[in-house]
Symmetry: C2
Subunit: 569 residues, 2 copies
């Protein structure tokens, strides 16, 4: 490819809103352009990278026995109604009507569609298991797009769906997919950590994210140094340290407490440790139910865990007004003690206690009245939660569950995920079944497996760049060789042109910068675009060529034969 | 691939609404399934064919120097407003809003998007020409989907857009694309005819459809046996034969004419030839303008030509009520003579005459009153059209323009098209320009080039099938070899399994029917699926294999070595 005719040349200036290296460099080097916020054109260079990423994914998916197919982009909305997802999806669903009034969702993920096509066939246990996947455009009506390709509203995703006769069979397939994903990211040059993650409606142990450590990432995760544990902060567990657990329980005491409404105000006033204070956080769920989450003062509530425990779909913080008028308590002075007696008749209040409250005695905190506090609150004795469980947010330095190591916290880019879906969809959707050996129709056991192509591309640039530009690993590089012609004489140009043709004849992908511009500009562009090998033909190189790898400093002079030998090895 | 694990096996029954061979066979053989009307899943077999078609197209497009990229599926509606296409598109545009209220079109074609990304770059004449293309999902809100993949509401299209400095440069590129398309369809095994076609808003000589002759097709076209002329009926021209052109013009005469309202009624009553009668067709355009199209009685009006001549976007027939109350004429008795004096003051009426009216003298027809006719109407003398031009519909048997041959009429499937866009988009969209040698900004000269992938697949099946099923040409076949194992003994199975593995090792695509079902069912499935080579391993074949090509009757017994030699040749 002649660079002079390439559509999408370099520009010097990054977009003003570009905050990540990948956004800046992919823009400047001519790989992407934004259409509207969060929707991108992939220019010829970007499309080449995208296709190389997809090629690696396809090869490994096929190797694992998965079968590529494709579903329509517009999903009949009835399907999403069958699984009640028109209301429960985390991402806002975009909907569209055709001129006959039929309603469609713009697919954000395709579980219903794949179940719908599978149930069009009368399957027997002999047809299972299988795994079908597609590369297709997905839509997420994100309120805020950010970071170039890191969080977008439209992107190509490889989404796979597996169908097994039961959980035992599924587990094997799940472990196989885990290995397939590991191999995919290895081949792409993306070091990933596999972390347990949340799968929303199902729970359970089979749900993992593949995360590449990067400050630009939105996934926080915790792990132990020995690699025995790694989990997304949404689901990470830890061992709460026992505090004054051996103290004797003292009788409840109410005192005057003229203080502000924060936890720190309590600590300051009473000169007691933060951990001994009860943290009360009042939520309202999508059904209008009030949920009082209580936890040890030095811990924070993990809303994802709380949602699972309370089987809520959405949670929001209660307003000060609601605390006063519905609960008849006081912001900053809420207490689980006696609160149930105070709430309005028509208010449903659920008290949910974190297990960490069992690690302290004689806690202090509000008394449901302004400027009144309680001392010596003890669980079971002074208050009884409706639900008790792990609703604590794990953080850096907390003890791992085995009690032997401190958790390490990192941030990363989620490049892939694998999910247990179980019977969730096959039970909600009619006829989503196969005929088992006993002749009975049974729902299939499902899993799903995603990789976002654009985000993977962004992760690659975050990992492989320097101050001058991108440094593509060979497996995903848009071209293998960046050939630069220097010299104004026709003989210099002819020499470069000849080498270009010879490389093309050998099926080596070459980007040939044949423009009449300064050598400095050509070198800068080559560094910015980031093709693995740079070759220079100039009056100085004679009948040889200058050879430099993008990620090395060394410059070699090689004969054309040496060059062909090393490139076709 | 083991057929036992393939998702999308054969079924015996075709869908009740399937009217074309491609729809029936692609369904029965497990290549496609309908999601909702006109929106299809491509099952693993179908996806393989689709990808092979795309591969051939990509190779030839790249060979021609075109560059693949990809644009978002959702097009900002402002772009379509810039070119006024929200109102003028023939296909109904689907629109969607995001939750921030931003409006998008679901792309039916992507001229605006490609101009929009191109204008993000400051281009000079040195950057031109270039041709950028994509494979992407397109949406058409068709009122009626039909024929399986022949007319759908959602499909993958290869759409390319070229940018040149001027028309001279464009013409060369256009001819090159014509050759590229010819090569693509040759490689795919689709015999196409290149026919001139309508390009809607621009007119001009550079617009062609690639049509495969097929009764199932929706494109009617006319051509001469010597191949010198071929055009879509929308634009086809012919030479109207001179009739009584040498007769003397007689004076206009009004007579009583108690007759029905059809052309035949006139012929019967006056015992004069149909061609001597004037055919009057009254239309109303999108601006409310009345258009009276007049033509020789034996010809029909071509509404596409009429639209171009009158620069109308939409035409509909006037109602009887409008004829009576707005035009003050009479249905079945309209005449161009004196009609302008009769119409309501606020009615704008345009008289458009076909050039064929110059081939007759002393025409007869209505007198703008019930049961009154005129004899001896002559153009210029008795009526004066506002516009005169070719608005006649060409038909089988009409004389070609060169006056030497009769036109032949056929029906076919439009599998591709190439279009001159000229300055249409670059003039309507701001900043759609490049800096020319003289330092001035000039609009670029554009062309566009489309191929529908699904329709190409349907065309292939229409062409390559028999009563038993599909017969894929090798270039697009989902697999090269269909291996069938017969015999219930483990040794038979092992023999087939061994051959399967050996073929896979040699990178030969094999579909291996390993199921425990009858040989008859396996043979029927193989014929239905249509893979080019069928191999059978049975107790009878010993250490050899039975070899049959899908499109031949002959069955050969070959040694495994002969087989490998022929397959890896």
């Amino acid at each position: 490819m002649y660079y002079s005719k390439l559509f999408g040349k370099t520009v010097r200036k990054a977009p003003s809103d570009a905050s990540t290296a990948s956004h800046k460099l992919l823009y400047q080097a001519g790989f992407i352009r934004e259409s509207t916020a969060g929707r991108y054109f992939f220019l010829p260079l970007g499309q080449r990278v995208q296709q190389k990423i997809m090629k690696v994914i396809k090869e490994e998916m096929d190797q694992a026995g998965a079968q590529e197919m494709i579903s329509p982009v517009l999903h009949p909305l009835e399907l999403w109604k069958e699984t009640n997802r028109t209301n429960t999806t985390g991402f806002e669903l975009m909907k569209v009507q055709d001129r006959r009034g039929a309603e469609f969702a713009l697919g954000g993920t395709a579980e219903e569609m794949f179940v719908d096509v599978v149930r069009k066939f009368q399957l027997s246990y002999k047809d299972l298991p299988f795994n079908i996947y597609q590369f297709s455009t997905k839509f997420r009506d994100e309120l805020r797009a950010r970071g170039g390709l890191l969080r977008v509203r439209e992107f190509i995703m490889k989404d796979a769906y597996s169908f097994d006769v039961d959980e035992t069979s599924f587990k094997k397939k799940y472990e196989k997919m885990k290995k397939t994903y590991t191999k995919i990211f290895d081949r792409l040059g993306i070091p990933t950590q596999i972390v347990e993650s949340d799968n929303g409606y199902i729970g359970g142990e089979y749900c993992h994210e593949f995360v590449m450590e990067a400050k630009q990432g939105e996934s926080k995760y915790l792990f132990t140094a020995d690699g025995s544990y790694a989990a997304h902060q949404d689901v990470a567990v830890f061992l709460p340290a026992n505090k004054n657990i051996d103290d004797e329980m003292l009788p409840l005491q109410e005192i005057e407490a003229i203080r502000g409404t924060t936890m720190e105000d309590g600590v300051k006033l009473h000169k007691k440790p933060l951990w001994q204070q009860i943290k009360d956080v009042l939520f309202v769920d999508e059904k209008g139910r009030f949920i009082l989450a209580i936890i040890r003062g030095d811990y924070d509530v993990n809303e994802i865990k709380l949602k699972h425990l309370t089987k809520s779909i959405e949670l929001r913080h209660a307003t000060d007004d609601e605390i006063k008028k519905k609960i008849n308590s006081e912001p900053g002075f809420i207490s689980p003690v006696n609160i149930k007696k105070m709430v309005d008749k028509n208010v449903k209040l659920l008290i949910v206690a974190d297990t960490s409250l069992r690690t302290i005695k004689n806690a202090y905190g509000g008394a449901n009245q302004k400027n009144r506090d309680l001392f010596n609150m003890n669980i079971d004795q002074d208050y009884k939660p409706d639900l008790e469980g792990d609703i604590a947010l794990a953080k850096e330095g907390y003890m791992s569950k085995d009690g032997k190591q401190r958790l390490i916290e990192k941030q990363g880019i989620e490049v892939g995920n694998i999910f247990q879906l179980g019977y969730h969809y096959s039970r909600l959707m009619r006829d989503a079944s196969f005929i088992d050996k006993d002749g009975k129709a049974k729902p299939y056991y499902m899993g799903c497996y995603g990789i976002g192509i654009g985000r993977t591309m962004a992760a690659l640039v975050e990992k492989y760049h320097d101050e001058k530009g991108i440094m593509w690993p060979l497996a995903v590089a848009p071209f293998r060789v960046h050939l630069i012609s220097i010299g104004k004489e026709q003989t210099d140009k002819d020499k470069a042109e000849k080498l270009y043709k010879e490389l093309c004849d050998r099926n080596i992908d070459v980007l040939f910068d044949d423009r009449d511009i300064s050598p400095g500009e050509k070198f800068a562009d080559a560094d910015l675009v980031g093709i693995p090998i740079r070759l220079v033909i100039s009056p100085k190189t004679g009948d040889k060529a200058e050879y430099k790898e993008r990620n090395k400093k060394e410059i070699k002079i090689v004969t054309i034969n040496e060059l062909f030998n090393s490139l076709t090895r």
